[in-house]
Symmetry: C2
Subunit: 663 residues, 2 copies
């Protein structure tokens, strides 16, 4: 490496010793500046390509180092840990006691009172028979209680996944025309959703759901809530002939073109219960202690409205009721899975979209409550739990389920301690399925609409959207796009647009990175932005620039132009102010966390161009990976001595002392 | 802002004064450390949303500040500058003299001798009549010499754009079956390429071509060169029935399934001239002074082979010749533009792809030679020049042209001084078109194949590919993908895959950013990576982490997990080594150049989780935009006093002095 070798130390070579690493230059001419130690910039410890690949892959797939508990353990201890790893119930099961059980029974019964009307309502949202919603509140919670690592997650069908499944399947097959095929497709979609979720967990690709940013989700949920609420106008107004489309415009035109079908009995019944439900919800929100009010309200409404309709049944012809529901446990449905045929693609697509959406909700809800109680949920393990629960569900007449936000919140507030609350809820649903189904005969459909609206209205989080606007305009735009995309185009496309905008935002930041001129904060070794710190001072003869982004193909041309423009502007400023002539450009590349081959070419090119103008280019504080690439590409050699420093202060001190020595 | 207000200064408020900005804490208990000034972290100067938007937009679209020359100028001076801005010929024209002219005439004639055979060959590559290649070497260079800002760019048809146009149009229409339609589509594609290029320049969207990274282009050019060379096997072997497909497999099977059509005369003639051309190329490459050898070789080969075929014409039936070429200038072709009909989409698509490819080559070549002679070419202006040249070309029987690498290299080596060399070349082509066309009657097609192979073989840059492998494995993968994508799938898809991989690489860096544990370099205020600097020491009771990436939705979950894992590992290390208990986590966020709302939530969440474990979280050195967002989202308030410092050294010094004071 020639002259370079005494500045760039290969720290992996054993012959190095520590005393070599510090070069102390004492210049007798230095009067204003103190003598300063100059430190070498080291290369990171050398690694083979294989080691690097291993490190990179382990950071991508195993950032949480899931096997660290297994290290240095005995064989049988390892077995136990492995069992606990795959079945968290073995972790908390042995410590289970009566106290915990009491809390879990109370919370379990509370969520059951919510789960039964919700199950029926959400199934209707997915255009499925109401009973499927109840089936889905029985098997999946049992499986989750064995596999899941969250203590507070309340499992069951959720509004968004139900809506999306309903809208996507309805486009291919109509439930009213071919109910068997529709059911088959729903179970198949559930199966694929489960397979997709479990394989994301198994392949440790859980980070994919991180690409649905919070901003995207806020917009998406609000859009979905509006769509769902509008769909309920069918039930609330008593309209018989309703569009099967989900977008805003066809739904609204459908509502108003069938004004003759509006039934006043339905409207009165529906809106009075809606007001009741919204009031209890409002009370619970303002006084968290009264959470049971909103938790019990749906079941109360169902009971009251059913009694009401039962009493006036002879006069209430305008009010549509649920009617006969079959008694009995979940029938097996593995024979209804549909693996070849014209609609397979629809089922797979629906499975993927509902799978990723329900996964996002489940993981986010699990994380939220875990952080409130200060324990960890393992994202990849949760994915497997949710995935297996859906795969099992698809064979037992259940549709897509996940951790539901409303159920989990009620569960948490009711004092759930472990996943046993899910078992209690499942038992309550079991009793309902076996004995109480005939009681729902007179339940009016309109009440289900009111329950759904009350549930989804909480998804419209306008306060968060306003915060987005205040803090980050581009995030707000992503949010708006997903809102309007879902409302006017379609659910998957709306989501895709929002993800694309989020990614575009990252690229925009990379394409046009910030460059900042630094100055010295008087009396210190600190160099900081001139425009931000008024006590930062220009250092004469130097132009100190900080580049605030990795240098990639996407920005190398821009950065080169921008740096040259800074030089040009600095020279003009000097001319106008009679300053001392510019001699050295210092690039502080602390924040350049990566560089690619285009970036390296840019640095090489820039150095050449500045050299032609008799300007020296100095790099300061490259991070490990950048240093390595500069070294491998032999660009470092062109920087030789006095081209690379550890801090800006050292660079300024050393170079100006050299100038004085040569003067 | 409560307690916070004396640490976070709003630097835009006029009541601030400088003395306020420095808080000096002198702790009497400090024995090991010197008293240290503690500096405030400032907010950047306040800007309205509108100002920010303006700044952002001007950085995106006007990073080069093209209007700075117009500032503070008189009215008529402004007019002159504007004229010079749009027509660079007014800039260098007035200083033009005889000396410059002599150089330009020599270089112009040199490139003409290359341009004539190249024009004919490349037109054949695009499945166009050979004469179109000559037309394309006449009008566009004239227009470029008025509009272009590069002094060395040699303008004309290029191999890649010709190949892509040929392959994309051939898939829709066969030239042999419907030559008029094919010609129409070619001119229409040229027109759209020009419109696209000019509008990229006008809308200042030139940065789009930056997304074709160097790695992508290396792979793409090599793939295209292989495809082009294989296509020439048709001519070199004398095959009559050849596939119209461009991919590797159909071409190779076509070559070997028509072995009966191979003609030995053609093979002998072709390969002997190929050897001649490659030899001259090799000589010129090893001895740059003999550049004229490779520049003159194509014309020499054409003349020699034509004479040869003319002499043995009675015996050489196996050798196909160019035949009759019409004499005369470019006929107008604006009536052949095709704006409605079934093939419009093909023409537009071809225009876009060839437009962006030829633009990339033109800009890259222009920049390369400009940097060799240390002048600047304006990317957006070049785009407009190339765009207008193609739009004019499409109306005068020309197809897509741009700055050609081979021509420009010859031009540069022959001593070109200004764009006048392009005018000289165009004049030479004019003479050829008017008087010399019959001379090409006996030129064998095989010689054109040999010329094309020699030209494109230089595009296979295996040395650069090897460098990519050494410096950046992911860049190398992008390169390989574009190579194999072009070779086996198709040109646009190969390019799209390569761009997607390049973008994925950026996202990967963001999704899994580096976190580094810092230590103090003994005797200094410098904190640096423990694993990289062996003289960096752990600071007891502190864990100092540097985050090397913006914090976005895509990595906030990962970063939270990773930081908690660092804390966990540190605590285990302390337990094993009986170190002093961990009390404070310092996050050095110098390299966190941006943050979004998910990132802010992560910071808030992390602080809460650490607080529950009685660990303090401290942020060090947020950049301006991050500071602003932390402030707007009110996260800063939760950091209150002792939660935000300008440097790691100040944070460590201040916090440990506080501990001692409380002890």
């Amino acid at each position: 490496m020639g002259v370079n070798s005494n500045r760039v130390e290969d720290s992996s070579s054993p012959s190095n010793n520590n005393t070599n690493e510090t070069i102390i230059r004492i210049s007798s001419e230095l009067s204003t500046r103190q003598t300063m130690e100059i430190h070498n910039v080291c290369l990171p410890p050398q690694k083979t390509t294989c080691q690097k690949l291993k490190h990179r892959l382990s950071e991508i797939f195993f950032p949480d180092d899931p096997l660290h508990r297994f290290k240095n353990q005995e064989w049988c201890k390892k077995l136990l840990l492995g069992l606990q790893f795959f079945f968290p119930i073995f972790q908390w099961g042995p410590q289970y006691n009566l106290n915990l059980l009491r809390s879990d029974v109370i919370s379990g019964l509370t969520i059951a009172s919510l789960a039964i009307p919700q199950g029926i309502s959400y199934a209707k949202l997915a255009n499925l028979p109401p009973i499927v919603g109840l089936y889905s509140s029985f098997v999946p919670p049992l499986i989750y209680s064995i596999l899941g690592s969250s203590k507070h997650l309340g499992v069951g069908p959720v509004s968004i996944a139900s809506l999306v499944m309903g809208s996507m399947l309805q486009e291919a097959v109509s439930y009213t025309q071919d109910p068997i095929l529709y059911l088959k497709l729903a179970f198949t979609a559930t199966f694929f959703a489960g397979v997709f979720q479990a394989s994301l967990g198994l392949l440790r690709l859980g980070f994919i759901i991180d690409f649905l940013s919070k901003a995207t989700l806020i917009g998406f949920m609000a859009g979905a809530a509006v769509i769902v609420s509008l769909q309920q106008l069918k039930g609330l107004l008593g309209i018989v002939h309703f569009t099967t489309k989900m977008q805003f415009i066809p739904v609204m035109s459908s509502v108003f073109s069938h004004r003759d079908e509006w039934s006043w009995q339905t409207v009165v019944l529906g809106f009075s219960f809606l007001v009741f439900l919204l009031t209890t919800r409002h009370i619970s929100m303002t006084k968290p202690k009264l959470f049971w009010l909103s938790a019990a309200a749906p079941l109360t409404s169902v009971i009251l409205s059913t009694l009401l309709v039962f009493c006036i049944k002879s006069k209430a012809h305008g009010i549509s009721i649920i009617g006969h529901l079959p008694k009995g446990l979940n029938p097996p449905s593995s024979n209804m899975l549909y693996f070849n045929g014209a609609f397979l693609a629809v089922a797979v697509k629906t499975g993927l979209v509902t799978g990723i959406l329900s996964l996002t909700e489940g993981i986010a809800v699990g994380r939220t409550f875990a952080s409130l109680k200060n324990y960890q949920v393992d994202g990849n393990k949760e994915m497997m739990a949710i995935g297996f629960m859906n795969m099992a569900g698809s064979c037992t007449s259940c549709y897509v389920t996940t951790g539901s936000f409303s159920r989990s919140a009620v569960n948490y507030n009711a004092g759930a301690q472990t996943a046993v609350s899910n078992i209690v809820m499942a038992s309550a649903v079991l009793v309902t399925l076996l004995f109480l189904m005939p009681l729902f005969y007179y339940t009016p459909n309109v009440i289900l609409g009111a329950i759904i609206i009350t549930a989804v209205i909480g998804l419209i989080d306008y306060q968060s959207a306003y915060k987005l606007w205040k803090v980050d305009k581009l995030d707000f735009i992503a949010c708006l796009c997903s809102f309007f995309g879902v409302l006017f185009i379609s659910v998957p496309l709306g989501l895709a647009i929002a993800v694309a905008i989020s990614v575009f935002k990252i690229l925009l930041h990379v394409t046009r990175p910030n460059t900042v001129v630094l100055g010295n904060i008087a009396g210190t070794q600190i160099y900081h932005s001139l425009s931000r710190y008024r006590n930062a001072l220009r250092v004469s003869s130097f132009l100190i620039l900080a580049v605030e982004s990795p240098i990639y193909f996407a920005n190398s041309t821009y950065l080169q132009d921008r740096i040259l423009r800074w030089v040009h502007e600095e020279e003009e400023w000097i001319k106008a102010n009679n300053g001392s002539i510019l001699k050295c450009i210092i690039l502080d590349i602390t924040a350049v966390t990566a560089i690619d081959t285009s970036g390296i070419d840019m640095v090489r090119e820039l150095r050449k161009m500045l050299e032609k103008r008799s300007l020296q280019l100095v790099l300061v504080n490259p991070v490990g990976s950048v240093m390595e690439k500069l070294h491998q590409s032999k660009v470092l050699e062109s920087f030789r001595l006095n081209g690379l420093y550890l801090t800006v202060a050292e660079a300024v001190s050393d170079i100006s002392s050299l100038w004085k020595a040569h003067a």
